[in-house]
């Protein structure tokens, strides 16, 4: 046995106690099932879910991919709050050795911890989120000034990876299933400020209504729960401002 594996073995042998994990089982209707999972050092929520599936109940359904906070696939509701399970350490979020795992809110549950993201991505498209070049014939790189106001606005919104946590956190989505939601509107705002994109006005026409940016209550749950610390609320406020100006100028 090498020194490294000996140390690893020893650290795994230390009894850190057990976690009591309540896991949502079923679809739209279902119930929480309780599992006991041994605690380990540097254990993430995703490690816990994986432990349950591999060692206790192989029928547990969940989604993950990169395990390092890049893809956003593993988002779930952990102790009542949307989190990337791969980037959530048990020691940080479960001081009482108790964990409650549920699927994201506001999206149809496929099974257990997995939701159907289709409507979430459809709304990205419905908010005009697909890039449409201002000049399709332009062969060269666009000359974007790094210090422009528009470039800074894009900077603040562009890092979204579409994990759906803001959509799950949003109370307006819960009240109005037609509402486009924080991620789609955040994407729309970054395109409005992208000088290479040519359909900003069309985006405003698509989002300036009661199912779009005007519906936002500015509760800011989206930015409070966003793992990337983005501010969809600010992006939505930008859309409101731009849409109001466009309406006053008779362009909308």
């Amino acid at each position: 046995m090498s020194l490294n594996s000996a140390i690893m073995k020893n650290s795994n042998d230390i009894d850190l106690g057990q976690l009591t994990v309540l896991v949502w089982r079923g679809g739209e209707t279902g119930a929480f099932e309780t599992f006991k999972v041994p605690r380990q050092e540097k254990q993430t929520v995703l490690d816990v879910v994986t432990y349950i599936q591999r060692n206790i109940d192989p029928t547990l359904t969940y989604r993950f991919s990169c395990r390092v906070g890049v893809c956003g696939s593993c988002a779930m509701t952990v102790n009542g709050r949307g989190r990337w399970t791969c980037r959530s350490n048990i020691s940080d979020i479960a001081p009482e050795d108790e964990l409650e795992l549920a699927p994201l809110r506001n999206l149809p549950v496929v099974k257990d911890l997995m939701v159907d993201m289709e409507v979430f991505f459809d709304k990205m498209a419905a908010a005009g989120g697909a890039f449409e070049p201002a000049d399709p014939t332009l062969a060269d790189f666009a000359d974007v000034k790094p210090d422009s106001r528009e470039r800074h606005a894009v900077e603040a919104a562009i890092e979204c990876i579409g994990c759906g946590i803001c959509y799950s956190a949003c109370d307006v989505v819960a009240a109005n299933p037609d509402y486009l939601g924080p991620a789609a509107l955040n994407r729309a705002w970054s395109l409005c400020n992208d000088e290479r994109d040519g359909h900003g006005l069309q985006i405003l026409r698509m989002v300036a209504n009661d199912a779009g940016c005007l519906a936002c209550h500015s509760h800011q749950s989206c930015q409070e729960q966003c793992p990337k610390h983005l501010s969809p609320t600010k992006s939505i406020a930008g859309l409101k401002r731009a849409a109001a100006l466009a309406a006053l100028k008779g362009k909308l």
């Binding site: 026409r205 698509m206 209504n209 009661d210 779009g212 005007l214 409101k240 109001a244 309406a247 006053l248």
Partner: protein, 114 residues
């Protein structure tokens, strides 16, 4: 068409909010300044009856409050009940009732000069 109505109502609600913020302040300052002499029906009538400035101020005040409140009510009803057109209609009637009540009060006091 729908998006145009929504954005104009949104703008109108913000515009009336600005009017309300200023007018509520003037209203409170007026109350505090006149309270020193105590409140009496005669005093109020003497101050406001036949006063064009008063009726213009409270007429606009009532109008702004009716629009602001009714648009807010429409937003809440549409979000909570998902009733759409029925919520629009109810809010419109609510707005008309508030305008009527408000203007009736302002013009009623104004007309006491005779």
């Amino acid at each position: 068409m729908e998006h145009r109505l929504d954005i104009w109502l949104w703008l109108l609600q913000r515009g009336t909010a600005v009017i309300l913020a200023i007018f509520v302040l003037i209203h409170f300052v007026t109350i505090v300044m006149t309270m020193g002499n105590g409140v009496s029906a005669e005093g109020i009538v003497a101050r406001v009856a036949g006063n064009e400035l008063f009726v213009a101020f409270y007429g606009l005040f009532a109008f702004a409050a009716a629009l602001h409140g009714a648009i807010g009510l429409r937003n809440i009803l549409r979000e909570v009940t998902r009733a759409g057109r029925a919520a629009d209609l109810f809010s419109l009637v609510f707005c008309a009732a508030l305008v009527w009540l408000g203007l009736r009060a302002a013009f009623g006091l104004y007309g006491l000069a005779a």
